[in-house]
Symmetry: C2
Subunit: 372 residues, 2 copies
Amino acid sequence: MTGTSLDSVDTALCKFYQEDGKYKFDLINYNEYELNREIRALILRIIDNNASIKELSQLNFYLAHLFADCSRRICSDINFNFDLVDLVSIHGQTIWHNPIPELFVDRKISSTLQLTSISALSTLLQKEVIGDFRSADIALGGHGAPIIPLFDYHFLKIQSEDVVALNIGGIANCTIMLKQSSIDDIQAFDIGPGNMLIDIAMSQFYDKNFDKNGETANSGMVIDELMDKLKSIEYIYSNPPKSTGRELFNESMINNFLIRKYKAEDVIRTLTEFTVYCIVYHIKKYAPINSTIIVSGGGRKNLYLVKLLINQLKYYKISLIDDYSINGDAKEAICFAFMGYINILNIGGNLPKITGSSSKLKLGISASNFIL
Amino acid sequence: MTGTSLDSVDTALCKFYQEDGKYKFDLINYNEYELNREIRALILRIIDNNASIKELSQLNFYLAHLFADCSRRICSDINFNFDLVDLVSIHGQTIWHNPIPELFVDRKISSTLQLTSISALSTLLQKEVIGDFRSADIALGGHGAPIIPLFDYHFLKIQSEDVVALNIGGIANCTIMLKQSSIDDIQAFDIGPGNMLIDIAMSQFYDKNFDKNGETANSGMVIDELMDKLKSIEYIYSNPPKSTGRELFNESMINNFLIRKYKAEDVIRTLTEFTVYCIVYHIKKYAPINSTIIVSGGGRKNLYLVKLLINQLKYYKISLIDDYSINGDAKEAICFAFMGYINILNIGGNLPKITGSSSKLKLGISASNFIL
């Protein structure tokens, strides 16, 4: 998968199986293959309506070629025989996500759009490929997100504890699983920005992809004026089901707040504090005191951000997902491999109470464009 | 399906089966449900790079809702029980087709893009949906077109005659099947404009969708200056495999020829003569004298165009597909239903010699987003 952060192709080679009625997986290999800067820039241009339909179509196939290479490399890097791979599962690059129905010509329409030609990928690899995991839920009135809660339930739920699975990727999202609850009691939603605003500002001010260890934030001061503007974003205070992405938290948004007029490190500090503010706001509102918070995603490596979280969530137990024998960088990629696995098992992938859709559904479409 | 002419949703309800080792079909119902003018205009804006990514994403889902309605209507209009439908097969609305590889960032890429969320359509109908029939062939270096020759071979081939299946839709294409030849000997390609240029000009000058019976053309004179410019388009003289579409033959193209400065009926006459010129050029070059030409598509109703064809192809036998017990309006829609049928039979849908791809392939992707 490639997430909202657009930094790399996160590629996981997994073996899924069932044991004692439970899903299990082995992570055989994981790597983040860097995404070409030109492609990253093009994706941003597409999202900002500054690309042609030809570029969009060409990118759709380019990504199939790129992901085909990554699929082969994740095997060849460890001399794993690619012929043994049964299935390739792909999230695709989100370029639009519009989960709330809006009047469109003469109908109320909601939609989501992930690029990567699934048919081309299947053709190039000569494997079955499953992808497009969000559309079906959207078509039934859901948000098509979050998808990760089912994975969290199967792999992170602890029967004797209240657990919050907190993923800090481009966007921050959380899954709240209370002790002794069932799958129908899970709460989950997108919190707001994860690393995205920080990364955008790091790119603008320093031409860097992210704030390593949070060092820049650590050297700056909070700008109250900017912080107040950020805190006024309505999404934060809206009720679940809710999901968000680069449509809201993007370059234009922070540029509208005129960040250029402040000192760079102060902007990074403020954005980091704001990101933590959003996370803390939601955890305090939705998760019981003493919950175990299991942090995954790139944001868990931002030491300053994690320090702020620990300081502001004193009555919660914060740990990293890596302590639970799950590679914290790989979690989302493993989750979408799991979505492919349950598609071929004909098992529903959405949790309607969480996405807001009207029914539990099989998610994903399938391509098997084999040479005959 | 919706073709390059963007006038209607051509919807066929078919039963396919095999008898004595041959494919057969019954056309149970056929209708052309008019495409909303606003949607037609939006599709054109998308192709012309004048729409936002949000509009593209919303249209992708809007079309799924629209096609779901058409799928139900083609049944309910004749009181056919929709529950009896096994499969929905959909071409999707082409918005880009780029069959020749071009350098894109760091790779040579060709691509095609059809809109309609297959996953949303499957979800809304609770049926298996097959679509996206061109991508796999493109991924193997083919043109992803034409797709109709396999259908022509199975349903229009006459062992004792040289046959040209000529479809005059938005684009004109032909399949040439010589007597006593096999499937590997078929030639087929896109000829050039079918009704498209005529329709665009009718829309500009008269705000009408097409030239009914060719009456406008019949009342005009050929403009030599414009005809010479049209005849200089290189695509006409290029060798197969070749395919084309609205990327080349579009509004900008004819506007570049400053058609506004001529009399309206003369422009329509000239475009009609040019369309016939392209067809005649290819038939004389590629089909033996005395071939039976079986004409399908909306263009066969343009009496003036057909009269020109008959005059200029004296040494060929011109007939309408309707004489062969196939509804001439429905042919392409039936063909794409057939493509869905052979996908589930695991039979290859492309003819590599014709599309130029490196292998015979299963075409199409599948969605079965069932409520569980």
